[in-house]
């Protein structure tokens, strides 16, 4: 779950609906978004977020916002990710959602389809927001039936983190941007063998509760897919997808990676952070944690290795949204517009908490920890990123993934058998949407 906790975790659907221009004006009542409040407006707003690491930057954002809008008071409501959407769902049910809150890819369609989110139409028409300043993939992710509902806040891709000291100890050449699966597998195996007396493993990643930094990427690298482009059928029974899953089952089976039990007791980020794993598939959300690691001087990042079919990483980003039932919609819109501004996003980048979505502000994030070489996350976004898989009720089949796939990665059942069962169950859920 650690991944999901971090900034931009889930989803990065992008190309789902390229035909739709993000913010076409409203010919539908639901699309008439509210406008922005004047600077002397008085209001009290609640802003719900889930990442404690980002709180200092958010507090700074609010302070800066209050220089323009001194009488809009914003209270931050911090709920850990594990409870965030449970709480949000209950609030949605009683129509008491926070005025402004974080949204992610897997959930946006559910909230938008139930008319709980305010479209951005008013902001865009009033000239207070320019969607072209954000990556197109993210605008598309937050667009549902012709209307855009979220202002992209940040985005993340996945790369290969490695520990130089452990590579040197094991006498293995450092990873490069040109690595393939074979290079990666060989290095992971050698390091695990040579450093086993120290309890060091070749590679760790999240396999128990999310695929963003592991099998979502390897499935794409093998040429498979998690969900069809129109979001109606599962791709888990595609032989290429199965090959992508097999990568991890093999790494666990030959001891290059710790077992699923070991990665549940001690989370993957902790294995890597404490110098007990030489490689770590993870996103740029790990920067905030790893820059405080005692081993930080040994850490570096390169692109994910090239699979049998291609290079690939999923891309996802968070967005800020305004509740359709907010009583201070115009004040909320003013805050929303500020959070999407270049200034606010640059602040977040400079404080090293998130890789901002606003074009041109990312360099500040890259510079926040120069030794990690984190421009690789931006390059990956430009050159090899694919939309994060979502549908209208993503959570329903995410639960199936988390229930079934660990059985395949742990070696309890053959990968192909589990993948086919998952595809059938997932298709059943998709049919209900």
């Amino acid at each position: 779950m650690k991944h999901l906790l971090r900034s931009a975790s889930l989803a990065g659907v992008a190309a789902v609906a390229l035909t739709l221009s993000a913010c076409a004006g409203g010919d539908d009542a639901a699309e008439d978004g509210a406008a922005v409040a004047p600077t002397d407006a008085q209001a009290e707003l609640t802003y719900a977020i889930w990442d404690e690491n980002q709180k200092p930057a958010i507090d700074q954002n609010i302070k800066d916002f209050n220089e323009q809008y001194p009488d809009i008071k914003v209270t931050v409501d911090l709920t850990p990710y594990q409870q965030y959407f449970t709480k949000l769902q209950t609030q949605g049910e009683s129509r008491t959602l926070p005025d402004v809150f974080w949204m992610n890819g897997p959930n946006v369609q559910l909230y938008a389809a139930n008319d709980l989110l305010e479209p951005l139409t008013g902001l865009v028409e009033g000239g207070d927001l320019d969607p072209s300043k954000y990556p197109d993939a993210l605008n598309q992710l937050y667009t549902y039936e012709d209307a855009q509902y979220g202002v992209p806040k940040d985005f993340d891709t996945v790369a290969l983190w490695y520990n130089k000291a452990l590579f040197e100890q094991a006498g293995v050449d450092l990873p490069t941007d040109d690595w393939t699966w074979d290079d990666f597998n060989a290095a992971a195996g050698t390091i695990s063998d040579k450093l086993s007396d120290q309890g060091v493993y070749g590679v760790v990643t999240e396999l128990n509760s999310a695929g963003q930094s592991s099998y979502y990427d390897s499935i794409l690298q093998a040429g498979g897919h998690v969900i069809s482009e129109d979001g109606t059928t599962s791709g888990y029974d595609d032989p290429a997808s199965i090959e992508g899953l097999q990568l991890w089952a093999d790494l666990v089976a030959d001891g290059s990676a710790p077992t699923l039990e070991q990665m549940s007791d001690t989370k993957p980020n902790v294995w890597f952070n404490s110098g007990k794993a030489a490689m770590f598939w993870s996103g740029n959300w790990s920067v905030a944690e790893m820059k405080d690691s005692p081993n930080k001087d040994d850490f570096g990042t390169v692109r994910l290795p090239e699979g049998p079919e291609q290079r690939a990483t999923v891309i996802h980003g968070l967005a800020n949204v305004v509740a359709a039932d907010s009583e201070n919609k115009e004040a909320a819109n003013a805050f929303l517009a500020y959070l999407g501004s270049e200034e606010a996003q640059r602040t977040q980048a400079e404080m090293g908490v998130a890789n901002p979505a606003y074009t041109g502000t990312q360099q500040a994030f890259v510079d926040s920890v120069p030794s990690f070489g984190i421009d690789v996350f931006l390059e990956s976004a430009d050159e090899m990123s694919f939309p994060y898989p979502i549908s209208k009720n993503t959570a329903a089949w995410n639960a199936l993934e988390n229930e079934l796939l660990p059985q395949a990665f742990s070696g309890d059942r053959p990968v192909e058998e589990v993948a086919r069962e998952l595809a059938d169950a997932m298709n059943e859920e998709l049919a209900k949407e």
Binding site: M1, N208, E261, S264, A395, A399
Partner: protein, 331 residues
Amino acid sequence: MTSVDRSPRAGDGLASPARGSTRRAAARTGPPRKAPAGGARRGHDGWWPVLFVLPTMFGVVLFYLWPIVQTGWFSFTEWGAFGGQTWVGTENYVRLASDPDLGTAIVNTLVYTGIVLLGIPIAMVVASLLSRPGMRFTAFYRVLYFMPYVAMPTAVAMVWRLIFNGDFGVLNWALGLVGVDGPAWTSTPGFALVAVSIVGLWTSLGFAIIILSAGLKNIPSELFEAASLDGASPWRQFRSVTVPLLTPSVFFVTVITVINGFQLFDLLYALMGQGNPAIQETQSLVYLFYNEAFLRNDKGFAAAIAMVILLIVGAVTLLQFRMQRRWVTYA
């Protein structure tokens, strides 16, 4: 932690109904046959007693009975993503009956409750030791034993997670000293349930000790004097005086422990966490409910699970009250 609030009240009534502190407690806990006097007097008092009970009844009806009725209704519906119920008849129950997770959850819950119940004999021994004449620092020991019970389950679980950690935990380190290669306790099916039960036993011990200590204090010392005058050995005194007179307290602790056992959730959740490969084999009834209601957002189905839990706890508690006549001695 609600049980902390309600236990002392209920405890008084159960542990010493002879003192008859309140009629309500006596009526609730005493065997029905013993209450004719109370019943007769109620006729005299007219509506007064009802008036006094009214504030409590208000809370019980509003916060317990009405939600139960609502849950019962919800269990026959399907919930939309953000509310809105559609009547689906008994579909949820039919689905539940064929759900393999239900059987697993019931067995796990029973095993957990069984292991935690083992704490009662342990608590009896400790309470007896604490109430020995001449024992020093008893207050200190009581605090020590009770602390785990009042500590936040999450905080307790955090510490135990570190102890149980498969690679770096102190438990496996200790086992390693004697040449045993311990498992990842909280992430391996089978072991995880044992690990959770051990922590459950440990946290509930303090509560049982306090109640049993209070029960011991209520045994009149003349009985022991008389017994020793008659030449009864300490062991005989324990068996023939202490144990029978302690049975009301034991009964109370058993009822509470079983109910708490069936409500196992927070400890399991905090100890194992989400994304644990062993959770499916280890889940309890309430975890199953949580999973359906809040992770899968299938609240109608979850309501059916809640009704099943209610029925099981109700049936077990009823059975316990029926059985108490056979072994509980009220002085």
